[in-house]
């Protein structure tokens, strides 16, 4: 008889850090070229710098609506996305700026979207929670908790279908084996959509990897207060007949060491998987969160185990290239300055970009708009109703 898991930690209990990987104890990631590893560090630093600028812009009321920042979780997006091919589709929730940037969206397009400008990735129609980037195979940030998980399943289903049934890609080129990533927060573990999606993926051999970005909280609810078996989420994967893994999301190289082989297996075997990716957000849930549910000590402990610091320290101290540190202090500072510049410029770009023309209100409602779709005078795509 299964017992209920041991008493949940109270909301204010100290959430201990998972056991850290010993630095230098790296596998396949250590064999990657210097430039690749430096790029990862750069990506993580870009996200952090960008998010700091978002916070600033939000406080100045330049950004509206809800704005969920990714600071602390950078290794999660960077490590997982860099384990993929560029044309492997991904979909995520509303805490999505990091995924967009890691996928290659420009800081300008991302910031302009939040400013509600027409130069934004979705022409200012999506906002912070809805980052879409077709050239970079990012099928959206999604605002409804868990709703993106069936979508990720469908993306992987389609990728398998074009390879297996059509024998060519939907755009006409050669088809190949792909995997899709569906990111979700730990709060989405308790949404029916996820469970229906995982069951479908297990049944229909759909090559999707569900990645729980487990930052320990959904808003103010510690995971144990909302989720059964929080101490071993792999049991959920087991129930749906798929491989489950717990992965350290605080060290991007460790993450890659575990995650890349999982991606390769899912791609090869065209099967789903599930990852409990341990991570932590340093800031509040959104820009308005008094954070009564956790202690400052707890946050500090995680900050002292920062994924960017760890990666920088590896590249600047432990790893040597031709007898010298792989990344020199001078190069590191140059990189910092460059990223700061990129992000400052994104604010400027967003600020100076035009707002969408009022006619944009009526575009993108339908691909194939028709007369009388709507009783309004101007219906979709701005076409005038001939009767009015």
């Amino acid at each position: 008889m299964t017992q209920a898991p041991s008493a949940p930690a109270s909301a204010t209990a100290f959430r201990p850090l998972p056991k850290a990987a010993a630095p230098g104890d790296y596998g396949i990631s250590a064999k990657l070229p210097d430039a690749t590893l430096i790029k990862w560090l750069r990506d993580m630093m870009l996200i952090r710098e960008f998010e700091n600028r978002c916070a600033q812009a939000y406080q100045q009321a330049k950004i509206g609506g809800f704005c969920h920042l990714y600071i602390g979780q950078e290794a999660a997006a960077v490590g997982t996305i860099n384990s993929l091919n560029h044309d492997d589709p991904i979909v995520t929730a509303y805490r999505d700026h990091g995924h967009a940037l890691a996928r290659g969206m420009s800081a300008d397009a991302c910031m302009a979207e939040m400013y509600g400008k027409v130069t934004g990735c979705a022409k200012g129609k999506g906002g912070s929670m809805h980052m879409f980037d077709k050239p970079n195979w990012l099928f959206g940030g999604h605002g409804i908790v868990g709703a993106q998980t069936p979508l990720g399943t469908g993306l992987a289903f389609a990728a398998r279908y074009e390879w297996e049934v059509m024998g060519k890609s939907v755009t006409g080129g050669p088809a190949k084996k792909k995997v899709a990533l569906a990111y979700l927060g730990d709060g989405a573990l308790n949404q029916g959509a996820l469970h229906e999606a995982m069951n479908l993926a297990g049944l229909l051999d759909i090559p999707v990897i569900y990645i729980v970005e487990n930052n320990g909280y959904s808003m103010g609810t510690a995971i144990e207060r909302g989720t059964t078996m929080a101490h071993d989420l792999r049991k959920k994967a087991e129930a749906y007949g798929m491989e489950g893994a717990i992965i350290d999301g605080f060290d991007v190289m460790k993450l890659y060491d575990q995650f890349k082989p999982l991606v390769d297996r899912c791609r090869e075997n065209q099967r789903p998987a599930f990852v409990d990716l341990k991570t932590y957000r340093y800031l509040g849930h959104s820009m308005s969160d008094p954070q009564k549910y956790r202690t400052k000590d707890e946050v500090d402990q995680y900050k002292n185990n920062d994924s960017i610091d760890r990666m920088a320290s590896y590249l600047m101290n432990e790893r040597k290239t031709n007898g010298k540190p792989t990344l020199s202090e001078a190069d590191f500072h140059a990189m910092q300055a460059e990223l700061k510049d990129i992000c400052m410029k994104s604010l400027e770009f967003a600020e100076n970009s035009p707002i969408p023309d009022a006619s944009e209100l009526y575009t993108d409602v339908l691909y194939n708009p028709q007369p009388n779709m709507s009783p309004m005078r101007d219906y979709t795509h701005g076409v005038k109703n001939p009767l009015l």
Binding site: P89, V91, S106, D108, A109, T119, G120, C121, A122, K123, G124, K125, G126, H130, F132, D133, K134, P135, F139, G140, I144, A147, P150, L151, G152, T153, G154, L155, A156, F157, A158, A159, Y161, E162, E164, V165, V170, T171, A180, A193, E196, A197, N199, L200, L203, L204, T363, D364, V365, L366, Y367, N368, Q370, P371, N372, M373, S374, P375, T380, L387
Partner: protein
């Protein structure tokens, strides 16, 4: 700077152009001897398009091995195999969302809901993602899925299984809603729905799946937004859609025997709504009765009447009337259910009232 997709991608634009060409062809005759059932007409529409386009697949509960809960997909597994005719577990929210992802990726899913009543557990996908994806993504990804299944009461299925979803779903911009009343229209409209790159909710009726009519051998596509004038007259305009159109035709025959002649407009699609044909008829008759199998409050009937008042007020000789289902949950008992639904007696009475005869 991420490059922005043009408003309509070239491949989608080409598909729209192709569909428009097909829709320009004159429709074949409704008269003939090739009589088939409504369910067979639906099956033919899907089968013909699936033979042509491998991106199309059919997924739903019991669609494959069981041959369809209502035998719409009978034999399709044999022809297309289990990779294209896919049995799903009872997970409407999951498979509706799967269809959204697959459609964004570039496939053309047809999703069968055993009943639209069960689509309510997929409401988040159907109301949040399906209609809004193109907009939210700034035009980058649409959602070309056809969701189809049984809609409406009439088989003594009680409150949970008798939903008419058109009133609910018509409220959301971004989807097209099709509701045929006969086999000929069902086939031509479903073929158009499958080729249309926008999401389509296609509402059938379990009560009509066995209805028989001539459906021509040749392929044809019926345009959305064009009502069919199913009965012609001068005294009153009756507007309806889906199964109740057949009750309107019964009522029209009965009224004709009393010397009252009516136009019966079968809307065929709710979005788009062929208000032009409604107004043209109202201009002629000066009277309108809308027959709608949904509840009355904020229904399609309310919308039709609002638009008529907005645009044809001066032509009206009597206030618009509507015949909806009674404003109560759907009862089980046979007599109560009959009393609950629109029927020819209620329609006849409404027409007479509009003529000042009641």
């Amino acid at each position: 700077m991420t490059t922005l997709s043009p408003a309509i991608p070239s491949d989608i634009a080409a598909e729209i152009a192709n569909l428009h060409t097909l829709l320009e062809k004159p429709l074949p005759s409704r008269e003939g001897s090739r009589v088939i059932q409504f369910r067979e007409a639906l099956r033919e529409a899907m089968t013909e398009e699936m033979r042509r386009d491998k991106r199309i697949f059919l997924l739903g509960e019991e669609v494959a091995q069981y041959n369809g809960a209502y035998k719409v997909s009978q034999g399709m597994l044999d022809e297309f195999g289990p990779k294209r005719i896919i049995d799903s577990p009872i997970s409407e929210n999951g498979f509706a969302g799967l269809a959204v992802g697959a459609a964004m990726y570039g496939l053309r899913p047809i999703i069968e809901f055993m009943s639209w009543s069960f689509s309510l557990v997929a409401a988040d996908q159907l109301l949040n993602n399906v209609p809004k994806m193109l907009y939210m993504s700034g035009g980058q990804w649409g959602c070309p899925v056809v969701f189809r299944g049984n809609d409406g009461a009439g088989g003594q299925l009680g409150s949970t299984h008798s939903w008419c979803v058109e009133g609910l779903y018509a409220n959301v911009p971004g989807v097209k809603i099709v509701i045929p009343s006969n086999p000929y229209d069902a086939k031509g409209l479903l073929k158009t729905a499958i080729l249309d790159p926008d999401p389509v909710f296609f509402l059938e009726s379990e009560r009509m799946l066995g209805d028989k009519a001539h459906v021509p051998e040749e392929e044809y596509y019926i345009p959305f937004g064009q009502a069919a004038l199913r009965h012609e007259g001068t005294d009153c305009t009756i507007v309806s859609f889906g199964r109740p159109v057949n009750f309107c035709l019964e009522a029209a025959a009965e009224l004709a025997a009393e010397g009252i002649t009516v136009d019966v407009l079968d809307m065929r699609t709710i979005r788009p709504l062929d208000i032009d044909s409604i107004l043209a008829s109202v201009k002629k008759t000066g009277r309108i009765v809308v027959v709608d199998q949904c509840w009355p409050f904020a229904s399609v009937a309310s919308e039709v009447i609002t638009q008529v008042c907005e645009r044809g007020f001066d032509w009206l000789d009597h206030q618009p009337l509507r015949v909806n289902t009674e404003d109560v949950p759907t009862p089980y008992a046979k007599n109560l259910e009959a009393e609950y639904l629109p029927n020819k007696f209620k329609i006849v009475a409404a027409v007479k009232k509009s003529l000042g005869l009641a």
